[in-house]
């Protein structure tokens, strides 16, 4: 018989709150932070503004800003996890057990990986795509603006669930991918793995929607005359990445659901015994997991293409080759998943095939590096902060890629699998590949989004700190892996001699933290001094692509008159026409028309709110809440779908004219 409490509260009880002092401190800090924000908002009477301007917006640029903000906050969270990991591993030697007990340490690194991949990397990626890509395509918005907002709020709901685990309950201690049998109920009886499952389920559905949204945007929303082969490189890489999203994320959703069924309904998909097979989970999760890392890196490659071409004042070298390389990477990334578990014993034939497939990806990736180098060749290179990020990427990512090719040889992998060598490899790929790309993109496109440039000197300093810090933090890890150091250890024996390397790695992470601090200062300082760094022209870098043809910050409707292009680098051709004359869209028009833009909608955040409650209910077995949330989601979806509202509002031509005239006046000042 269900007691009153267990019906209404499920598994929640007073013991669900943290009992370890460090966690209690973090939880209290989180709650106090939230209370302060809420108090300030109420005091300054900003709730209405927040609701109208941000919480219900369907404008892709605002959604992009919110993604980047959430991602950055999560970078701070994931980064503090990293500091804790390094602190533990530098001190937990011999007789000392370090500051964190094993249970807690295992939650820390599980949270670190989960947050960094799903909320920092994915968040920055979707954020930058939202901020810039529609303008690059010469379009007014993404294909499905309302869906775009829903994707963002689902992402945020997942993010809140992960962070809530700090305050109520605990988090998974099974690593960022939660292999069974460890993640099954028998070995992980607490709600931690369920928090992990549900935050990813919800965020993952948001990602899948974005995948479809951006694919359709690229296919259908390009400017007149912009064939696919005249698109800038960034949308090409986004397109490849979104194809991967569309095919890979359903695998994640299904696999997590099956694991949840094992844990909650007593099923046996992946259990040890009763017909379950943990190897199937490993295969499924990596069939998603491998495409996921290419989902992340491809848009970063696209950003490098934009940055290098602009700051070399030269056309991107080998455009067609670059496009083929993207598709090579997309295709191959579905054929390599087994290299994540060569040591599971699939046999020589299977290991051999997947090893060779893995190595093949090095070819298109190498091609891209050379194409960027030869974009710089015979150019006029300006080493702004984005270019410093790019150079750091070239050196570090290439070296990390070499270690990847090494591990693609199965017997080599047998010796380094699951060691710190592996950890160093994938951090090199993700940090020096993905994160550096997004940092370069943020510096590059900041003026477009906010109307003023970021201080370049501070940008370069932060890039150098990240590069040096990363080398110090992960160089030792390559050596440690070869010394036999397995990943995720919370303690090791003093006689192994590993500690000095861990200490150096700890120093490296502190240098990276300094880099992050400089970035924060860069933003604060540049914002305070923005009058001196204003971008009046909309084109501070003498850019090549269409996003620079809008005002900075971009008008709500992007283009008063939708542009037309006849070649690649559409804006460059408008500025330096040769032969064919394409009208420059920045020149004032004699006639403006009414523009339809997507309207605000409160439905996305409401649906995401119900999704959050659904996740919470599933985690704590509060079944009435699960039912209510499901009903709430469905009712809101129907309310949206069946409403007569066409979801658009009209900006009258007079208002467009006024906005454009103001922009022209600012341009004169530039």
């Amino acid at each position: 018989m269900l007691s009153f409490a267990s019906f209404w509260l499920g598994k929640l009880n007073v013991h669900s709150f943290p009992s370890v002092p460090i966690t209690q401190l973090a939880a209290i800090g989180l709650v106090i932070g939230a209370i302060i924000v809420i108090a300030l908002m109420t005091y300054f009477k900003k709730w209405g503004w927040l609701w109208r301007e941000w919480l219900t917006t369907t404008n892709h640029k605002k959604i992009g800003i919110m993604y980047v903000l959430v991602a950055f906050l999560m970078l701070l969270r994931g980064g503090s996890d990293a500091l804790m990991i390094r602190a533990q591993q530098a001190t937990s030697v011999g007789a000392s057990n370090g500051p964190f007990p094993p249970d807690m340490f295992q939650q820390v690194f599980s949270a670190h990986g989960t947050i960094m991949i799903f909320f920092v990397a994915m968040g920055l990626m979707f954020g930058i795509i939202n901020l810039i890509m529609p303008q690059q395509l010469g379009s007014r918005d993404v294909a499905f603006p309302w869906l775009n907002a829903l994707s963002f709020w689902l992402f945020t709901a997942g993010m809140i669930l992960v962070n809530l685990s700090l305050v109520i309950g605990d988090f998974s201690a099974a690593g960022w991918l939660a292999y069974p049998p460890l993640s099954e109920l028998k070995f992980s009886p607490s709600v931690g793995v369920d928090y992990w499952i549900w935050s990813l389920e919800i965020a993952g559905i948001g990602s899948l929607m974005s995948g479809i949204n951006f694919m359709v945007t690229i296919l259908k929303n390009r400017a007149k005359g912009m064939s696919m082969m005249k698109m800038p490189m960034f949308p090409w890489t986004v397109f490849g990445s979104m194809v991967l999203v569309a095919f890979a994320f359903p695998i994640l959703t299904v696999t997590l659901t099956l694991l949840y069924f094992d844990r909650t309904l007593g099923m046996h998909f992946f259990t040890a015994g009763m017909g379950g097979n943990a190897m199937m989970y490993v295969n499924l999760i990596w069939a998603w997991g491998h495409p996921e890392v290419y989902i992340l890196v491809l848009p970063a490659f696209g950003i490098y293409s934009e940055v290098v071409a602009t700051f070399s004042r030269k056309r991107l070298f080998g455009y067609a080759s670059m496009v083929w390389a993207v598709w090579g990477i997309v295709f191959l990334s579905f054929l390599v998943w087994l290299h994540h578990f060569f040591t599971m014993g699939a046999g020589a034939d299977v290991n051999g095939v997947f090893g060779i497939a893995t190595m093949l990806i090095a070819i298109p990736t190498g091609v891209k590096i050379f194409n960027w180098l030869f974009t710089m060749y015979r150019g006029r290179i300006k080493f702004t902060a984005p270019m410093v990020w790019f150079m750091g990427f070239v050196f570090l990512f290439t070296l990390g890629g070499v270690t990847g090719v090494l591990m693609a040889v199965p017997p080599i992998d047998f010796q380094v699998h699951n060691s710190l060598f592996l950890v160093a490899h994938f951090h090199t790929m993700i940090v020096a590949g993905v994160v550096f790309g997004f940092m370069a993109g943020l510096n590059y496109w900041w003026p477009k989004v906010f109307g003023y440039k970021l201080h370049d000197g501070l940008g370069k300093l932060s890039a150098w700190l990240w590069i040096v810090g990363f080398t110090l933090a992960f160089g030792p890890l390559y050596i440690l892996g070869l010394m036999g150091a397995t990943r995720r250890l919370d303690h090791y024996s003093a006689s192994l001699g590993w500690q000095p390397l861990f200490i150096v790695a700890g120093i490296g992470v502190l240098v990276i933290a300094a880099g992050v601090a400089v970035q924060v200062w860069q933003v604060i300082y540049s914002t305070v001094k923005r009058k001196e760094n204003r971008d009046y022209s909309g084109d501070p870098w003498d850019g090549r692509t269409l996003e620079w043809a809008t005002a900075s910050p971009t008008q709500e409707y992007n283009f008063a008159v939708l542009p037309e292009v006849t070649s690649r680098d559409g804006l460059w051709e408008m500025k330096h026409p040769r032969g064919h004359d394409v009208p420059d869209v920045r020149v004032p028009q004699t006639e403006y028309h009414d523009i339809r833009v997507p309207k605000n909608s409160g439905h996305p955040i409401i649906i995401a709110g119900f999704a959050f409650l659904l996740g919470f209910g599933c985690i704590w077995h509060i079944w009435w809440l699960v039912v209510v949330s499901l009903v709430g989601i469905l009712v809101t979806i129907f309310a949206h779908t069946l409403s007569d509202d066409d979801g658009e509002r009209i900006i009258p031509a007079s208002e467009v004219a006024a906005i454009e005239a103001a922009w022209q006046a600012r341009r004169q000042r530039a």
């Binding site: 460890l182 010796q415 036999g484």
Partner: protein, 370 residues
């Protein structure tokens, strides 16, 4: 910063780091690069080969990068520096940077295929000596080593004779782990319900560090083990020492061992029942296959069958075994519910067949009836 400091300071910093690294490496060994067995030796050779092939591409690329970055920097442009803003295509260059990587990856692919086969962990090592079988069971949080032919077992220390191939058969009676002895060779996962194989050999005497190489719960950082390569006589003495251990590996003692504990000191068990590791793995095959039932320490209880294709309403028979011998059933299901031919079962006792195939029983390999 003044221009000359901008160049000198980084060079000094890099030199300092390089010197410190060299000093550290001179005082510490890198086990993967100091193999003590043929498998690890070949794996190290592969690492060096792959690195050399990679360096062939990477070093010129880095040189080119630095050259281009300096020469074409806007501030470094002279009247003679070429600026070709539309130079975006070259069949020659494309041919080179598609072609050369394809060749290098082609060579590495052949290497990968061949080595995946020659260094397949399940493949026996070439040797004149008869291989020693060591059965490994990963527990929370220690390693049990069963020597089936010697009928002994040890915890967290596996002594092997040097220059003798060892066939490690690895399973888990808890969650997934990974059995890794870096100086002897690469690792293999240990998984419940499955038995993986890893062939290793030690070519020098010594104690080799063993690592649990997969996250396995709270105590997994404290379950390192040692593989000790000894002379034949020392190894024989060690086996005799284990045979004299007061405890036997009964089901009860095993279950005591399997309770969660970490930092477990080395201990020994004399007298291990035949087919013990197989029974550990088989626990996960059917719901009622506890160790006690399989190894016959319990009274007559609900029997189980080995045949995976059995339907649930096939006739089951009790099984009873003595002397720790392993019992198995081969059953033929009742043909249909309507016919009168009943299900038949044949009981066989004896040592388990050497092969891992559990679907049906190969009657010719089983020993005689109990």
């Amino acid at each position: 910063m003044r221009k000359k400091y901008r160049i000198i300071l980084p060079i000094v910093a890099v030199a300092l780091v390089a010197a410190l690294t060299a000093w550290y490496l001179s005082r510490h060994s890198i086990p993967v690069f100091e193999p003590r067995g043929p498998v690890a030796h070949q794996e190290r050779g592969l690492i060096f080969l792959a690195l050399i092939l990679a360096v062939i591409v990477v070093v010129p690329t880095f040189g080119l990068t630095i050259y281009i970055a300096i020469k074409y920097r806007e501030e470094n442009h002279t009247a003679k520096t070429k600026y070709r803003p539309d130079f975006d295509h070259s069949v020659l260059f494309e041919g080179l940077w598609w072609g050369i990587p394809i060749v290098i990856i082609g060579i590495l692919s052949v290497v990968a295929w061949n080595s995946a086969h020659s260094l397949d962990p399940a493949r026996a090592l070439a040797s004149t000596k008869k291989p020693l079988t060591v059965q490994v069971v990963s527990l929370d949080w220690k390693w049990l080593f069963i020597y089936p032919e010697q009928h002994i077992a040890s915890v967290n220390l596996a002594e092997i004779p040097a220059n003798t191939p060892v066939d490690f058969q690895v399973t888990s009676d808890t969650i997934m782990n990974s059995f890794w002895v870096p100086q002897l060779g690469g690792q293999i996962y240990s998984m419940p319900g499955m038995i993986t194989q890893l062939h290793l050999e030690a070519s020098k005497l010594g104690d080799y560090f063993g690592s649990p190489a997969n996250i396995a719960g709270r105590g997994f950082s404290r379950m390192n083990f040692t593989v000790r390569a000894a002379s034949q006589s020392d190894y024989d003495a060690w086996v005799r020492k284990a045979e004299a251990a007061p405890r036997k590996l009964t089901v009860a003692n095993y279950q005591q061992l399997a309770k969660p504990s970490d930092n477990v000191p080395v201990s020994y068990y004399s007298s291990v029942p035949d087919g013990f590791q197989k029974a550990v793995a088989m626990q996960y095959m059917m719901p009622d296959m506890s160790l006690a039932k399989q190894l016959g320490t319990g009274a007559n209880t609900q029997p189980a069958t080995m045949d995976m294709n059995m339907s649930s309403d096939s006739t089951k028979q009790q099984m009873a075994c003595q002397d720790g011998k392993f019992c198995a059933m081969k059953s033929a299901p009742a043909t249909t519910e309507k016919t009168s031919s009943p299900a038949s079962t044949t009981k066989m006792c004896g040592t388990m067949p050497a092969d891992m195939n559990m679907s049906g029983m190969d009657e010719s390999k089983a020993a005689m009836s109990c």
